[in-house]
Structure formats: structure tokens, C-alpha cells
């Protein structure tokens, strides 16, 4: 019985379950040399083109970058940088449609090439001279990630601790149409072998197995020629069958081993790399050319020239197609990747990325779109074709039923999404699509379970904390009480130690201090009272006048006094309000006063505001006729240009709170929002923030009003609805400084308001 290694040496190739034989159509492109493209007008370089995280951006908009210059920096192990494919100017770093089935936008660097194609200084390495860490660093810095499929960072894959038996180079390229790797091998076989040698230095495997499908004789021959006399390099031609290029399938083909479920090939002593990746490694190390271009097969019968091109990373797909003479059909499908596993794109401005090996623009006749999905007849053709020996028809059944337990039982996670099942399905069921959806759902469920667990932990921690705090408070109170008792006892008794005496002294002092303070305060309060009384009298004489200035003139007075005065005024006002419900104007002046004093600091303003609010609340409760209040209050608040934003916000909040209360109290107050808004938007010098605040206020008011409206008579409701829209246009138009975004928000708010009101109308 020969050992596995002997069998491999003898050239034995095994087989895997299932597989299909779609028409390969590779002859269209595999005899033409790889074409070079002109540098496109714009390059869109997604910041993340691999599995992992994006690096840190190193350049700014407007910077000039040189060819090969790193645009991002890998700041952790799972990051690989991206590089400028040519010299030019960074136009923007923005969201751009991604080269991903979802077509979701992702951060992308837009580069305007300057046509000079000027290189940064290059530092080639000699792999014989440097250690493997330098090599690994170079591989990471050159932005190399797997170029065959998912784009896993190469420096992680080749940085291994375990012993490696076999380094498998995947040159199978089993998908129909694609010949990018084929052409690369035909043209650059020696570079690929150089790249493999670097990999061998990193991994020191027992043998290098190069798997290649037997429909690429030229490529296989050139590889063999490039290998020459090297020991333990084996080129193994595998029968043409899809998906023999799948990682697990190729491992089975070449070594008869299976990667255990949920494990990595490395666990069975195998590392697999794509030929394209090997080539990129050679370029990065030997010539210091980072991963800035790649061979892409551009094929499909809508193209005049079906060929392989060397495309710069970031080249929009549209440029590729147009360079090949693209004649679109009305319902054109553009597929990135091969016909079996590629994805259709919705926007052809998406760029070529590191994993893009093919762009297809087929005609309808060439690759017929799937016709209508029929019922599964359980014919089992899918199970026969499945390379993972799954039961796709069962998986379909459970996917439709969203039965995640059963899906796990039937090993959905082992599906490699090769599409063989959907290819053979006579009912044209998009099986793979169902599995992807189910997998995404499972991932989501897992994420949610994790989140629920975290939420539970946090909830428990919070409950515990609250409980603990409560307990602590209780204890503290008890302690304090005990202390008091002890102190009382101590003061009753004769002091026994010096410390006790001192303590007692200190206490007495404190106690004696306090009355002093109190006395002062009382005195001051008396004074204020007198002042306020005078002020009240004045006001009673002229009820409608705004006596704001009366208190404000005291600018020389220190702020503290002003605050106290305000407090006094409040107390009085409260009393008075209770006594005489006709006093309408009071709170407004109080606020005006508060905000008029420019040297008063923000805190004071807040305090005053709080006072005013409290007052307003009381008053509102007391006198439901007070209609005009909040409006002037706001006007005042926002009229003052030197009041800083914070103050404004506070005042606004107050006003809002007031409005809320008032609205609750007086259902007749219909006119409010309109003047309030007018006021807020009239102030031209008001900054954007204030505008937003005002909008929020208006909204709060509107919300309350809407709630009120429900309870009101129909006629009144109508009046309200009419007014709300009439107030709308003023908001966005009036303040010229207000930026567009705010305006939009305000508009949206107004709209929402109107909608709410309409909804609440019981018509």
C-alpha cells in the first residue's frame, strides 16, 4: 500500500462527488494576448477590497499621489492597504457603489489620474537575502489578498505556525468564460513560479501541487517549462469539471483529503493559493509593485472584442466594457465574476477590485435568464450534482420554511454556493439564492442571540447596580442618622478627647456660620423684595407695557444679585398670578431680563430660565387665557445675537417645555405655533443651530397641539390644520444663513406635523 505522498508523487488524481459540465466557452479569450488599457479618467478605489477591515486613510482630498503609493495603512492584522494604481490627484473620499452583489455604497477613494504614471521609489527585495518577516511585511504592505475568490488577506494565510505538507496552487479556473489565470500562466509562468518559490520559503511544504484543468494544455506546459528541474513541484492536470477549482474540491482532487467541517485547510496541513496571488507576490517582492492591477477576462457576445485585459484596480466596469466594444441589449445583464458564481451589477460605474477576475456582458441568447421558478419535483438532480454531498432539495424545503434547526442539521453551512444545483434544476429554482438568504438569516439570528445575551447581561447589571445604589443610599442615610445621634450624644456629654473637642468646635462653628449666612440672605432677600415690590407696583400701573428694562438696567449689579432678583420676581409673580389671573405679560419680561444681561454667564441664564419655566407652568395652570406668552419669550431669546448657542438652546428648551405644559392646560391656544415659527425664522442672524432648535420647538408644540386637536371641536381642528401648513413655507425660506440640510429637516418636520394633524383629525 503506497503512502499518500507516494500516490501523489505517482501522479494520482482523485475525484469528488457531483459536479457539472457547463459549456466552458474559454476558447474565445484564451488565445489572445492580455491587452493593456488606457488609463481611465477616474479610478474608484474602495478602501476595503478584502475580507477584514479597511486600513487607515493616509491621504487627503487634493493630495497628489504617485503610482504605487499606499492610500491606506494597515493598522491591524486583518487590514491590508490599497494603493494608487497610477499617479494623480485624490478627488474625493466618498461613498460609491460597491463591487458587491448588494450594490450598497462603501467608502471609496476617487482618483483623477494625471496621465504621467509616475512611480514612487521602489525597493525590490531579494527573497534569498531577507527573513520571512520582511517578506510577510512586504506582502501585507503590498495589499495582497486572495485573488481567486473571497479575498482573504494573504499575509495571514501564509503566516503559519503549523507544519505544512502541501502547498496547493490553484490554477484550475473552472468557471466558464474565465481565462484570466490561464493567460497569466501562458504569459508569465516564470513569475508565477518565482512567487511560488517565495511561498515555499514562507511555508516550507513537503511538496507543491499545482492543480490545473486539462483544458489548459498551453498553460500547463508553460508552467512545467518554468518549473524545470525543481524538486517536488508537481503540475497535476485534473479533469475538466465544475467546481474543481473550489478550495475543498481541489484538495480532495489532489490529496484525497477532506477539510473537516468548520476547520481550515491548514488544519490538515494544506495551504492553497491562487496563481494570481502567487504572481502578485512575485511582483510585490521582486519588483516592489503592489497589487494595483490584475488580469480581467472581459467576455460576452455583446462585445466586439472578447479578451483579457490588464486593468488597474479601480477602473470602472463601464470603461472595461467600452474598451472592448460593448453593444448593450435593452435588458442587459452585466455579471462580475463567472456565470456560475458571479453577481449581476445594477450600476456599471462599480470598479474592478482585487477579486474581480471576469466581467461578462452576455446576450440573452447566450446565457438565458432563468425562466419562471416551478415547483420542486424532488428529482434529486441537485443532490447528484452537489460537490459537498448535500441534499439541496431538503435544504430548499427548510429554507422556505425558515427552519434554522433543520438547516443546520442538513449542513447548510457546508454549502459552497457553487451553483451546481441550481444549474441542473429542471424547475429552474434559484436554489443558491434561497441558501444565501437562509445563511444571512442564520447569521442575523446568531447575531441577535448574541445581542440578546449582551442585553440581558447589561439589564441584569443595571438592575443590580440600581439595587446596590438604593442599598447604599439607604446605608448612607442610616449612617448619617447614626452619626447625628452619636454627635448629639457627644455634644451632650463632656468631650473626652481633643479630637472630639475639635470636632465639636468645628461643628459649632459650622452651626454658627450657618445662621450668619442665613441672616445675610434674609437681609438681601428683604432688599430684593422691596425692589421687586416697587417693580410690581410699576407694572400694575401699566399692565400692558413690557417692563423688561426695569430689572435689566441693573447691569452694574453683580450677576448673583440679578439671579436672586429674578428668583424673587418669580416668587412674587407666582403669588400674583395666583391672586390676579389677568396678569398676562409677566414671565416673558422675566426671561427677557435674564437673557438681556450679556455678562451673565450661561449657568445663570439656565437658572433664570428654569425659574421662568416653573413660573410659566404655574401660571399656565392658573390662568388659561394667557395666550401670547411663549411667542414673545422666544422672540426675546433668539433676538439677542450675543447670547451664545447654548443659551439659546436652553431658552428654547424652556420655551418648549412651557409650550408643552401650556398646550396641555389651554386647549384654545390655537394660534401659537404660527407666530412662534415666524418669530424664530425672522431673525436673520440666527445661526443654523438655533433654527434647528426652533424647529424642534415648533414640532414639540405641534405635537402637543395635534394631541389636543383630537379632543377639540371639528371647526377648531380645521383652523389648526389650515394654520400649520401656512406656517411651513416660512421656515426654510426666511433665514438665509440656514443651510440646505437644516431647511430640508425643517421641511420634513413641518410635513410630518401636517401629516400628524391630518391623521388626528376625526373627520
Amino acid at each position: 500500500m503506497p503512502t499518500l505522498f507516494q500516490q501523489i508523487q505517482a501522479g494520482k488524481v482523485w475525484d469528488f462527488h457531483g459536479g457539472i459540465h457547463p459549456p466552458s466557452r474559454k476558447e474565445r479569450t484564451n488565445q489572445k494576448p492580455v491587452a493593456l488599457l488606457d488609463i481611465p479618467d477616474r479610478l474608484y478605489i474602495p478602501l476595503r477590497q478584502h475580507i477584514g477591515v479597511a486600513g487607515k486613510v493616509l491621504v487627503k482630498v487634493g493630495d497628489r499621489v504617485l503610482k504605487g503609493q499606499a492610500l491606506t495603512q494597515a493598522d491591524n492584522a486583518m487590514a491590508v492597504p490599497v494603493h494608487a494604481p497610477t499617479s494623480g490627484m485624490v478627488l474625493a473620499i466618498e461613498l460609491h457603489t460597491s463591487t458587491h452583489p448588494s450594490s450598497l455604497a462603501e467608502p471609496t477613494l476617487v482618483l483623477a489620474p494625471d496621465g504621467m504614471d509616475e512611480w514612487r521609489p521602489r525597493k525590490p527585495l531579494d527573497p534569498e537575502q531577507v527573513d520571512i518577516y520582511t517578506l510577510l511585511e512586504r506582502i501585507q504592505e503590498s495589499g495582497i489578498s486572495g485573488m481567486g475568490g473571497a479575498g482573504f488577506p494573504t499575509h495571514i494565510k501564509v503566516n503559519v505556525k503549523q507544519p505544512v505538507d502541501y502547498l496547493i496552487i490553484n490554477a484550475v479556473e473552472c468557471e466558464p468564460y474565465i481565462t484570466a489565470d490561464d493567460m497569466l500562466m501562458q504569459e508569465r509562468a516564470s513569475d508565477i513560479i518565482a512567487g511560488i518559490e517565495i511561498l515555499v520559503k514562507l511555508l516550507s511544504p513537503k511538496a507543491v501541487l499545482i492543480g490545473i484543468e486539462d483544458d489548459k494544455p498551453i498553460a500547463a506546459a508553460s508552467l512545467k517549462a518554468a518549473i524545470g528541474q525543481r524538486d517536488n513541484y508537481f503540475v497535476r492536470e485534473v479533469p475538466t469539471k465544475y467546481p474543481s477549482g473550489g478550495e475543498k474540491q481541489l484538495i480532495q482532487l489532489l490529496t484525497n483529503k477532506e477539510v473537516p467541517a468548520g476547520r481550515r485547510p491548514l488544519d490538515i496541513g494544506i495551504v492553497m493559493q491562487n496563481v494570481g496571488t502567487a504572481f502578485a507576490i512575485a511582483q510585490a517582492v521582486l519588483d516592489d509593485i503592489p497589487l494595483i492591477h490584475r488580469v480581467v477576462t472581459v467576455a460576452g457576445e455583446t462585445l466586439a472584442q472578447q479578451q483579457n485585459v490588464l486593468a488597474l484596480i479601480g477602473t470602472p466596469i463601464s470603461d472595461l466594457l467600452n474598451a472592448c466594444g460593448f453593444q448593450a441589449e435593452p435588458q442587459q445583464r452585466i455579471i462580475v465574476g463567472g456565470p456560475m458564481m458571479g453577481f449581476a451589477i445594477a450600476d456599471w460605474s462599480v470598479p474592478v477590485v482585487k477579486t474581480t477576475n471576469c466581467v461578462l456582458a452576455p446576450t440573452e441568447n447566450e446565457l438565458g435568464a432563468a425562466s419562471e421558478e416551478m415547483d420542486c419535483i424532488r428529482c434529486g438532480a441537485c443532490a447528484d450534482a452537489c460537490p459537498a454531498s448535500l441534499l439541496p432539495q431538503q435544504l430548499l424545503w427548510y429554507s422556505k420554511a425558515h427552519d434554522q434547526d433543520k438547516l443546520a442539521e442538513y449542513n447548510l453551512s457546508d454549502c459552497i454556493e457553487c451553483g451546481a444545483c441550481a444549474y441542473v434544476c429542471p424547475s429552474e429554482i434559484p436554489l443558491v439564492h434561497y441558501y444565501r438568504v437562509a445563511k444571512a438569516e442564520i447569521r442575523e439570528t446568531q447575531r441577535e442571540a448574541l445581542k440578546a445575551e449582551q442585553a440581558k447581561a447589561r439589564f441584569d447589571a443595571r438592575t443590580e447596580r440600581l439595587e446596590r445604589e438604593k442599598q447604599e443610599r439607604l446605608e448612607r442615610n442610616q449612617q448619617l442618622a447614626a452619626q447625628r445621634v452619636a454627635q448629639q450624644q457627644a455634644s451632650g456629654q463632656a468631650s473626652q478627647s481633643a479630637a472630639a473637642v475639635q470636632q465639636a468646635l468645628a461643628r459649632t462653628q459650622q452651626q454658627s456660620d450657618q445662621p450668619l449666612d442665613k441672616a445675610q440672605i434674609i437681609a438681601e432677600r428683604e432688599r430684593k423684595k422691596a425692589e421687586a415690590l416697587a417693580y410690581q407696583q410699576q407694572k400694575q400701573q401699566a399692565q400692558t407695557a413690557t417692563p423688561a428694562e426695569n430689572t435689566a438696567p441693573g447691569t452694574a449689579e453683580d450677576p448673583r444679585k440679578a439671579a436672586i432678583a429674578a428668583a424673587l420676581a418669580r416668587a412674587k409673580a407666582k403669588k400674583q398670578a395666583e391672586a390676579q389671573p389677568e396678569a398676562i405679560e409677566q414671565p416673558a419680561p422675566a426671561e427677557t431680563a435674564a437673557s438681556d444681561t450679556p455678562d451673565m454667564d450661561a449657568k445663570k441664564a439656565a437658572v433664570a430660565a428654569a425659574i421662568a419655566r416653573a413660573k410659566a407652568k404655574k401660571q399656565a395652570e392658573a390662568q388659561p387665557e394667557a395666550i401670547e406668552q411663549p411667542a414673545p419669550a422666544e422672540t426675546a431669546a433668539s433676538d439677542i445675537p450675543d447670547v451664545n448657542a447654548k443659551k439659546a438652546a436652553v431658552a428654547a428648551a424652556i420655551a418648549r417645555a412651557k409650550a408643552k405644559k401650556q398646550a396641555e392646560a389651554q386647549p384654545e391656544a390655537v394660534e401659537q405655533p404660527a407666530p412662534a415659527e415666524t418669530a424664530s425664522s425672522d431673525t436673520a442672524d440666527m445661526d443654523a443651530k438655533k433654527a434647528a432648535v426652533a424647529a424642534a420647538i415648533a414640532r414639540a408644540k405641534a405635537k402637543k397641539l395635534a394631541e389636543q386637536a383630537e379632543a377639540q371641536q371639528q371647526t377648531e381642528v380645521k383652523a389648526t390644520t389650515q394654520q400649520a401648513p401656512s406656517a411651513e413655507p416660512q421656515e426654510p425660506v426666511a433665514p438665509p444663513e440656514q443651510d440646505a440640510k437644516k431647511a430640508a429637516i425643517a421641511a420634513a418636520i413641518a410635513r410630518a406635523k401636517a401629516k400628524k394633524q391630518q391623521n388626528s383629525e376625526p373627520l
Binding site: A328, M340, G342, A344, D375, Q394, E409
Partner: protein
């Protein structure tokens, strides 16, 4: 120009369900032709009746279920069901028999279970069983093969017999079945069963003219024709080899053992293979994908079960032919078979779902 979004794969093998069903129908043509030659034009009339009934019922139920009638009708699955039932019942059975059977097959067995792909039982066989237990006499009234018939029946006779129970010249079915001696003739399987129960040996029984060469006058050729059709289906990759091979293999195996043990009371394995509905069942009925097992091993088990059951029922059961019962019983076990014959998934040690 606008872009079209589709899910991968973007390429499909151009063999749809409708095409598969059509191929099955085409493959049955030689069998039907030979059957019509030996057992009269009645087969064709039954076929016509069954197809019309099936399509009408299918269309009606699909419309009631709010499905796209035209698309679903064109999958030709109702056609195949009708075809299988029509060739399974006696050629000159009264018209209502096939109508009731087809309607039951389509409405109850297929659509009430959820339509194509969801039925547990093979519709044609379930309907056949219903008819057999409900109307045993007309369902077993096979005419002897053409060379043995006393009266030769033309197309007009076939129509008359099916719709009025009497041929144009006024013979009833039982009269038509009589041989020269006025004894009503049964099918070879039936005859053998009766004779064996009366104490004759197989060899003695086999001397009767109804047996003709090997497995019954006419029946051998009918089976051979279906075998040819089945091989065509295999070659077209419409069906896989496992089920038919397992059915025939297990039937052959069981009957061979029985025959070795007691050649006097058991028919030869070859007789078993080429009599009754053996080939039709092995290639056309048991391979119905919907109600058969879907795993590779499961198909072998499923086929073997059918063959074994058919042998047991043929030898020891009350009914002469057994495939309808065998297929239905095996259908019932399919979920179990499927569960326990799951293939070992790549990268997993244990077999099947755990």
C-alpha cells in the same frame, strides 16, 4: 439600457420539468403501441379519456387555488399521470372507471396534497389501488391477447364496449374474455395464482395457452417495449439507474431464491420480470421523482423495497398484480428512507443528519 439583476448561477442546463415529462411520455409510446396491438384499441380510448379528464381536473383545481393555470398545465405532469393510469387499467374497462380514477389521482392524490412536488403517493398508483379495491371485477377484466381472442375487435367495437359495456356485435366483456371452450380467460399472473391455489404445479399451469412464450402471450412484448422506453429514458438521463435496477434486481433475486427452493410453486424469475406491469413499474412508475426517494442510497433501498413487496404480494397476496400496492407502500416509507440514507456531507465524519 437598463441593467437586469439576477441571482447566480446565470447559466442553466436547458432541460426543464416540462421537457422531462414530455420525454417520459415519448418513452412510453412503444409500450402503448404494443399494448394497443395485443389488447386492442381500447388502450388508446382510455388514454384519450384519461388525458382529457386529467387536464380538465388539473386546470379546474389550479384555477381554484389561484395558480397560473397555463404555466402549470404546461409542465405536463398531469399528462404523465393520466398516461400511466390509462395503460394500467384493462383496455375495455367502462369509461367511468378511468374518469373516476384520473379525477381522483389529480384532485385528491396530487392537488389536495399541495400540487406537483408535494404529493406523498404516486397519483396514478393511488388511483389504481382505489379502483382496484372499489371495482375489482372491471379492473381485472383483461381481455386475452389478440392472438387468443375469439372475436377480433375494431376501433368501433372498442368505443362501443367502453361506453356501453357491449361491443358493436353485442358481446359483453365477460363474453369477449371467453376462449374457444367458453372459459373466461384471465391474465397469466391471475391464471398462475388460481392454478397454484388449486394444487397445480407451475409447470402444469404454464402449459395453458394464455402463457404463450415465457411470460404470457402479448405480455412479454409489452414488457419488452416498456423496457426499451425505460432504456431510452436512462440514456436521456431523465431517470437514474438506481431505482429501476433495484426494483428489477430485488424482484429477480427474491423470485430466484423462491424458485430455487420450490420451482413447482413459484414462477421463474424471468417470468416475474416480463409479466404484468413489471417493466412499466420499474422504469415509469417507481421512478416518479416526486414520490420516490431522493438520496442515492435511498433510491436503491426504495427500489429494492418495491421489488420485494411486489414479489411477496404477487406470490402470497390476494391480488394478481402487485406493483400498485408495492409502490404505494414504498412511497409511505420514503421520508424514513430519506432520513436514514442521507449522504455523508463533505468534511463530516458521521453519515447523515445528526
Amino acid at each position: 439600457m437598463s441593467f437586469k439583476i439576477a441571482s447566480s448561477p446565470h447559466q442553466h442546463i436547458q432541460k426543464t420539468t416540462a421537457q422531462l415529462m414530455k420525454l417520459v411520455a415519448v418513452a412510453a409510446v412503444p409500450g402503448i403501441a404494443v399494448q394497443a396491438y395485443f389488447f386492442g384499441y381500447g388502450v388508446l380510448i382510455q388514454l384519450l379519456l384519461a388525458i382529457i379528464t386529467a387536464l380538465l381536473c388539473e386546470a379546474a383545481v389550479l384555477a381554484l387555488r389561484g395558480k397560473k393555470v397555463k404555466v402549470k398545465l404546461l409542465d405536463h405532469s398531469a399528462l404523465v399521470t393520466a398516461l400511466l393510469l390509462a395503460v394500467a387499467i384493462p383496455s375495455y374497462a367502462p369509461w367511468w372507471l378511468v374518469v373516476i380514477g384520473t379525477a381522483f389521482a389529480i384532485i385528491v392524490v396530487k392537488q389536495l396534497y399541495g400540487g406537483l412536488g408535494n404529493n406523498l403517493f404516486n397519483p396514478a398508483m393511488a388511483a389504481y389501488v382505489l379502483l382496484l379495491v372499489s371495482f375489482p371485477l372491471p379492473m381485472t377484466s383483461w381481455l386475452p391477447a389478440a392472438p387468443l381472442q375469439q372475436q377480433s375487435l375494431g376501433p368501433a367495437d372498442a368505443v362501443c364496449t367502453i361506453f356501453t359495456n357491449f361491443s358493436c356485435s353485442g358481446y359483453s366483456i365477460s363474453q369477449l374474455r371467453q376462449d374457444a371452450d367458453g372459459i373466461s380467460m384471465a391474465t397469466p399472473l391471475d391464471t398462475l395464482k388460481t392454478d397454484l391455489s388449486q394444487g397445480y404445479t407451475t409447470e402444469e399451469s404454464m402449459k395453458k395457452p394464455v402463457f404463450g412464450w415465457l411470460s404470457g402471450e402479448g405480455w412479454f412484448w409489452v414488457n419488452l417495449a416498456y423496457l426499451a422506453g425505460g432504456l431510452f429514458l436512462l440514456q436521456q438521463k431523465v431517470i437514474q439507474w438506481r431505482i429501476p435496477v433495484a426494483v428489477l434486481g430485488s424482484l429477480f433475486g427474491f423470485s430466484f431464491i423462491a424458485w430455487l427452493i420450490s420451482p413447482d410453486t413459484n414462477a421463474s424469475p424471468l417470468f416475474q420480470l416480463f409479466s404484468g406491469a413489471t417493466m412499466l413499474a420499474a422504469f415509469f412508475i417507481a421512478t416518479d421523482p416526486v414520490s420516490a426517494s431522493t438520496t442515492e442510497k435511498g433510491r436503491l433501498v426504495f427500489g429494492a423495497l418495491i421489488g420485494g413487496l411486489a414479489f411477496v404480494i404477487r406470490s402470497y397476496g390476494g391480488y394478481p398484480d402487485a406493483f400498485a400496492f408495492a409502490v404505494m407502500l414504498a412511497n409511505m416509507t420514503v421520508p424514513l428512507i430519506d432520513y436514514y440514507t442521507q449522504p455523508r456531507t463533505y468534511g463530516h465524519k458521521s453519515k447523515g443528519a445528526r
